[in-house]
Each structure stands twice: as C-alpha cells, then as structure tokens.
Subunit: 392 residues, 2 copies
C-alpha cells in the first residue's frame, strides 16, 4: 500500500549475499530466496483453491508479487495468509461481481462486491484509463472493497498509455489527527506515476504518516526506539517507544507534531479518506473495517467495505505527449544531477529504489523471512498444495 | 499560497484588543485596523491605475483581500507592492489575453499571457468548473502565469457548485529535496475543498514544506531559532538558525529529514511541480522565475512563466450530492468530537481557523503591520491615490 520510496533498498539489500547463496541473515532472521515466477504460480493456485476464477487469480497474484519484486515486502506474499483468513471469516468474496453503480463521461463509482482489493483495484483503474481515452481524464471511486496491495501498482497501469496515474486508498484507523488522542485515520497512501521518454518513469508511492506500521515492527524486533515524530502513546504524548502503537497509542501524520506541521499530514490523510470513501460510499475514518480477521467490524457502518480512488489523465489532453515526456526526462535529469549533501551519493528520483530492487529480484529471486515462509507453508497445507522450492 | 491551517489564528489573534481599539502590539510591531471593503476598494484602484480592466481588478483584489480576511497575511495586501514592482519591471502583463491553447472535454491548458496569477487562476478554475458541469470533472493546467495568491481561494470556488475543488501552483525554488544541497522546488502548495450540508466546508490549504518562508521571517524578527526540520544551512546540514535560508540554505520538504520521511514532502512538491508546469508548459524546478523583481529570471527557461493546476469534480458524478454532503457532515462531526490530547481544547477540522478568522475580521477589520501600511502608502503615492483611512 505504501512503498517508502527512499529507504527500502537499504533495508532489503543483501550485502553479504553472493551468487549461488541461498540464504542470509536479515534483521536477525534467516531468509530464503524464491523465484518470482514460482512464487506467483503458488499464490495464483491459492486464490484459485479459494474459488477465484483463473483470470482474477492471475490479477491478484500479479499485484502481490509486484510488491515483493519492488521491495515492499510488507505488502507482498507476507499478506497472503491475512487474505486467506479474511476469506475464512467470510469477509472477502472471492468471486465478486464488480459493478459500476454510477457514472458520467469522466467518472464512475464502482461497487467491489466485497472482493479482494487486489482484484477490484486493477479493474477500477482500467476503467479510469478507458474513460481518459474518451474524454481526457478518468476518475473512479470504489466502495465495498478490501485491502488493495501496493498503491503504486495501480497508478503505474496508466504509464503504458502515456497517462499520469493516481491511486489512493483508506485503511484501518491507526493514526491520530493533530491534537487528537484517538485513532481516526489509516495510513492512507497516495501514489502518483508520470510517463517519461528515455528515463524510467517517476513513481511516488507513500503513506501519509511519518512512518508505516511495517517499520515499527522492524524496530520492535530489534528492540530499538523509533525516531521522534512517528508515534504517540496511549495518553496522546509523543514517544520513541516502538511498542506504543500496540499499547493503545497511534501512528502520527506526516510531519509528526504540530511544530513540524503534522496538520499537513492530517490534511493529506483526510483528503484520501474523503476521496476514497465519502465520495464512493465506503466506510471512512474510525469506521473503516480492520484488515485482520480477529478484529470485529463496526456494528454501525457508515458505508460498505473500504474505499479506493483512482485517476488517469492522458498527458496529450494537455500538450503533445512527446513534449511532456521530453520535459519529464529533463526534470528527472536535473534533479538526479543535483549536488548531494555530504555523506550521500546522489539525489533520488521517486521510484528509483523500487525499480532497482525489482531488477535485482527478477534476476536473483525474492528473499522471504522464515516466519513468512512458515505462513506460506501453512497456507499450502490448508489447500493441499506444495509450497514452491527455493530458487536454484 | 499556503495557509498553515491550524496555527494562524493564534498568531493573528489580538488578545488585548477591545472594541474601539484601533491599534495594538503584534510581534513587537504596531498594527492598524482597516475595513476589508475599504482595503479592497483601494487595491482595486491600484490595479486599475496599472491598466487593468475593472473586471480583472475586481477579481484580483478579491483574491488578495480574501487572504487577509482568512488570516493568511503573507499572501494578502502585504504582497501588493511586490506585484507593482513586477509590473514595473515589465514581468507582469496587466491586460492579458488569457487563452485556451489545448483542450479535451475534461481538460484544458491555459496560456496566462504573463498575467497576474490573481486574475489568471480564477478564470482557469472557472473553466474547470464549466467542464465538470459537462462531463463530471474538469482539469486545467496553466502556463505563463505569475504568483496566484492563496491556493485555497481558487479551490473554494468549486463549493457553491457542489463540487470538490483542487488548486496547486509551483513557486520560486527555495526547497532542497531530500539529500540535496540545492534549492530545486518551491513551497508548492496544495488546496482541497469539499462541500458539506450543514457543517462549514472542509478546506485544506498547505505548503508541501514543513514551514513556509513567512514563518521563518516571524522568528527572525523575534531573534528566535526554528524548530528542527524546517531549514538546512548552506552546507546542506539541518539547522535551527532562522537566518539560514537567507544565508544560502534551503527550506525542507514536509517531514523535515530522512528519518521523518522528508522524501514524502519531496514527492508531494514534485507532484505539484509536474502537474503545474511539466503538464502545462511552464517553467519547473530551479527554472521557476522568482516572485521578487530584483532577482533575474533564467536565461534558459524550460517553459513560460510559472504554472498552476486546477481541478473540479461534481460530487454527483459519483453519488447523489445530498448523500455526499450528509456524510461529509458526519465525517466532520466525528473528527471534531474526537478526544483531544491534554492541553488542547479540540481537534481542528481543516479550514476552521481561517473561517473563524474571517468572521472576526469581517466584523472588526483587518490588522496591518506598520511596514505593510508604509508599503501601501508608497503604492498610493506612486499612483496618486489616497490610502484608505483606518476602520472606524
């Protein structure tokens, strides 16, 4: 859902890994390497065993493996067991009839029929693209959906059509607005993708909080504190205790505190919530249903499921496409060539780290932590499947 | 351009002011109070003396006084002398022919003909609204413009049409991307306005930096340091020296530093730059021309003038308008009633402080600092006008 564009590469790089090496230490846990193709084939089988059509299973596994390839491990196959449990709790419809319930030439509202967001989201984004072909731009709000994987995947669907793509979603409430001692917003990510000529496309994809939950968990495992500005405790006070969220605290909006303009992160998270849910008819704010199956959904929902929002804009609806893309290249080159601060090699362009990770992982395989492998083995057993072998 | 939605009210409140009191101490400088109507009439006369049509002068003075009314003093009449000087330097065309140079049913690109952004922006936003009436949404990119005042003013034009409004602009480069020791982006604000039923509308309007230049200037006058995360010095190191920007440093993207996700503020500023300028054909990044007349424009521009981007979405293009607005009310009430942290009275809804300030200032007048009054008197003299009397 939210790639942290700058910093993931360092976390997932394998400094001690050599060709042929199958396993290494990461975060004090062993990892094993799997080929993306084999993992994808396994995930697809699982969705089909749950009752998905082959076509929908193909789409969903594409989104999930796409996250692992791009280094957003928190939103890849590590989530598969979560989707399975939601399905077991009858909170996901594995064979949804996804319907347009309202539309104009440039807009649509889609009812996801409680489907996997992994399936609903690409279909809604495709609709936005089709509308953009007709009238220049397309905007699709989605209700009655579930967790949709990484935001960037859907925004990037626009690129091959020479369109700018937007993707956002609301999510389970873990975030306290500025001055609030309540969790009212999700990490509500925004993704934005712009096409280019010879440079790789610019892809921004980020949670509207200072840090996402996955990063907290890494620090918890290491027994480390967080930087300031990430979390507040159950009394609403800023803290560096990486366990604070689990103990009744909250994540903080981007900015972290009032002096550093957390109200702006709160505005961004609110905008995502309103576009994704108030516009579509999904649940918003504290009513958004939790991703985990062991937490109950609200007795008084204000809408249906969770909500997403997608946009596609043909760049040639504004100026000739080649002109736009040539200037995007120039923008990127100018920023890439900027003078870095001491101790940094370069200024990073949004999307660089994920693309670089993808090149490595397509070649060398996807590293999975031991607990993730155990979860996948449990899923395999549940459906009487063989979990894939490690990469050769 | 960027209201700092939470905090302005406190800065401009007049705790010692009583009815009939004309002047008080603010920020160690005396202020005088002027009626909004009289100030507006004066500003309008100035634009007409510069050669503006009455209609355009009316629009421009509306935007400028709107900023003062809403408490965004940095973007109100305090800027008038800046616009005059740009016009004297032949960098503003006071009688522009604003033209649509490219369009589709849901989009347009507008050439502002070097006009005042205060005039070009409302016209472009109006075009977005007209397109939304036809096909559900309208999106307008603008090139060849100048500083457009407060972002929120233009976004709010959508509200009376039951539309969601968006407004953004790029600006002179003062901001260093994450890891960069160069100023490559402006404070590039985003505004978002959503209509409501009985509650006041939600209006978010914020720079994509931790803090805007106006706040730095307040601290400089007081001889105070900044909080961390606002600025870096000329060597690219984070600092709390409020003079750092003037001494070759840079403002920092929202987030402040890498540990607190400044790359997300950098992504947001980049998105605004790309939508406002790469899409429209304006200058972007370090090529954006400065607002101040004493700094030269680039010898090698990559586009024309500065760029803006506007959007309007009919809410009934997604669901019945009344339904949307009723749920907006519920969203707002739930957030407003949230439990505040200790020491805070309430959780603030984006747009509350500016609206509250406007109610006070419409009733009691607009306070202007002595240096601003001196500038306005200078402008009055230049055009052989009488500057308005203070409010009775």
């Amino acid at each position: 859902m939210h790639a942290e564009f700058c910093f993931y590469v360092r976390q997932i790089a394998f400094p001690e890994q050599k060709a042929g090496c199958r396993s290494n230490k990461f975060d004090r846990m062993s990892t094993s390497i799997y080929s993306a193709d084999r993992l994808k084939a396994f995930v697809k089988q699982v969705f089909m065993k749950m009752g998905s059509s082959e076509e929908k299973a193909e789409t969903a596994s594409d989104v999930l493996i796409g996250a692992d390839l791009r280094g957003v491990d928190s939103h890849g196959v590590a989530r598969l067991i979560g989707y399975v449990r939601l399905w077991e709790a009858d909170r996901v419809n594995i064979a949804p009839e996804i319907k347009v319930v309202h539309e104009t030439p440039s807009t649509a509202t889609v009812d996801g029929d409680s489907g996997l967001g992994l399936v609903v989201a690409p279909q809604a984004m495709q609709l936005a693209i089709e509308k953009a072909k007709e009238v220049g731009t397309g905007w699709v709000a989605v209700k009655n959906s579930n967790h949709y994987g990484i935001a960037g995947h859907h925004a990037m669907m626009a690129l091959e059509h020479d369109m700018i793509g937007f993707s956002m979603t609301n999510a389970s409430p873990l975030v306290a607005p500025t001055f609030a001692n309540e969790r009212l917003l999700g990490t509500n990510p925004i993704a934005f993708a712009a096409p280019t000529l010879n440079e790789p496309p610019l892809v921004a994809d980020f949670a509207t909080t200072t840090a996402a939950n996955g990063k907290l968990e890494i620090l918890q495992r290491k027994g480390l504190d967080t930087p300031t500005g990430w979390v507040q405790d159950k009394n609403g006070k800023g803290t560096v205790d990486s366990h604070a969220l689990k103990q009744g605290g909250a994540l903080l909006p981007l900015g972290g505190d009032r002096e550093r303009s957390s109200h702006k992160g709160y505005c961004l998270g609110s905008m995502v919530d309103i576009l994704s849910a108030v516009l579509s008819g999904a649940n918003y704010g504290p009513w958004v249903p939790p991703f985990v199956s062991f937490l109950p959904v609200s007795d008084n929902p204000v809408g249906e499921g969770i909500g997403h929002f997608f946009g596609a804009m043909r760049v040639d609806a504004f100026r000739p496409a080649e002109e736009f893309k040539r200037h995007m290249d120039q923008w990127i080159c100018r920023f890439r060539e900027a003078k870095p601060v001491d101790g940094q090699e370069r200024v990073i362009i949004p999307g660089d780290p994920e693309r670089e990770t993808e090149a490595i992982r397509r070649r060398e395989g996807i590293p999975l932590l031991a607990p993730v492998v155990r979860d996948l083995e449990e899923v395999a057993q549940k459906f009487d499947l063989a979990f894939c072998e490690q990469a050769h």
